[in-house]
């Protein structure tokens, strides 16, 4: 038995879908953010898997992951800063309570 590309892809699809689910169902801001990171990780796995299987160990997929990480790092920095600012102002992390845009 060998591990095929499909196995990795299924795994990453499941991770991604779980990330989506987390985004939709979790109610506090930080967990939602964490779910986004989970989605990114799922995608990263597909990059590496494709790079490994389809392009015969090509380097490109790895670099994509690298860039995703850098972007994720920037995103995390900014996002967490925003979360801190939001919590300072609204005093809650509950995403359903952040409804200033409503009406």
């Amino acid at each position: 038995m060998v591990v095929s590309l499909a196995d990795y892809l299924v795994l990453s699809a499941l991770l991604f879908a779980l990330g989506v689910a987390g985004f939709l169902f979790k109610k506090d801001l930080i967990t939602v953010f964490i779910s986004i990171e989970l989605m990114l990780n799922g995608v990263n796995l597909t990059f590496v898997a494709f790079s490994h299987y389809l392009r015969q160990n090509a380097i490109d997929g790895n670099l994509f992951v690298f860039f995703v990480m850098v972007v994720a790092a920037a995103e995390a920095a900014v996002g967490l800063a925003i979360i801190i600012a939001v919590v300072r102002n609204r005093n809650t992390l509950n995403i359903d309570k952040m409804d200033l845009m409503k009406n």
């Binding site: 038995m1 060998v2 591990v3 095929s4 590309l5 499909a6 196995d7 990795y8 892809l9 990453s12 699809a13 499941l14 991770l15 991604f16 879908a17 779980l18 989506v20 689910a21 987390g22 939709l24 169902f25 109610k27 930080i30 967990t31 953010f33 964490i34 779910s35 990171e37 990780n41 990263n44 796995l45 590496v48 898997a49 490994h52 299987y53 015969q56 160990n57 380097i59 997929g61 790895n62 670099l63 992951v65 690298f66 860039f67 990480m69 850098v70 972007v71 790092a73 920037a74 995103e75 920095a77 900014v78 967490l80 800063a81 979360i83 801190i84 600012a85 992390l93 509950n94 359903d96």
Partner: protein, 188 residues
């Protein structure tokens, strides 16, 4: 060996992801994600991406997630109280997530049942990554670094505590109008 490791760490990753969903407290979710990341790092190793694997640990788990945990601690994030505000998310969420999983996993991923001829040891050295990064991908690299810089600056701006109203002693010319505007500026 490959399969065993894949099942072990793939399963760990899935378990971590599910745990992320199930856990109530943000800190547990964050740690679950760290688990997922660690497992993924091992999978990366299996896929011959050593560099990415350790970068995953170093940057993702070691820096980004530490940041998350930090913020969680800083804000003392407790499990959020239950709220049922979003009807759309309640009714639309489960089918969306389920369909996404099914579509992506079964329909899309199901097409790649192929095992390539020569898989094995990683075919590139750390130097190759450097070469690719600084030649072929120089522009994206520079762009991302600028993005990163901007992101860092933005994060500092955002998270910086609003400054206290300037104290008269420190001010050079304590004009009331000036201090008003400054206060406003700091407040905004």
């Amino acid at each position: 060996m490959q399969l065993a490791l894949f099942i072990l760490f793939g399963g760990l990753a899935l378990a971590g992801a599910i745990n992320l969903l199930v856990q109530k407290a943000p800190i547990h979710s964050a740690l679950s994600l760290v688990l997922v990341m660690g497992s993924l790092a091992v999978l990366f190793l299996l896929l011959g991406a050593e560099f990415i694997a350790f970068i995953q640990i170093l940057v993702y788990a070691g820096a980004i997630m530490v940041l998350f945990v930090f913020v969680i601690m800083l804000l003392n994030a407790q499990p959020s109280e239950p709220s049922r505000a979003s009807r759309a998310a309640r009714w639309l969420g489960p089918p969306v997530a389920g369909l996404l999983a099914i579509l992506l996993a079964v329909r899309v991923a199901g097409r790649y049942h192929r095992v390539p001829a020569n898989l094995g040891q990683p075919m590139f050295q750390i130097g190759d990554i450097g070469q690719a990064l600084f030649h072929q991908y120089l522009l994206p690299f520079e762009v991302t670094s600028v993005l990163f810089l901007v992101g860092v600056a933005g994060a500092v701006m955002l998270a910086a505590r609003p400054e206290e109203a300037p104290q008269p002693a420190r001010q050079e010319c304590p004009e009331p109008a000036d201090s008003m505007t400054r206060e406003k500026g700091a407040g905004a």
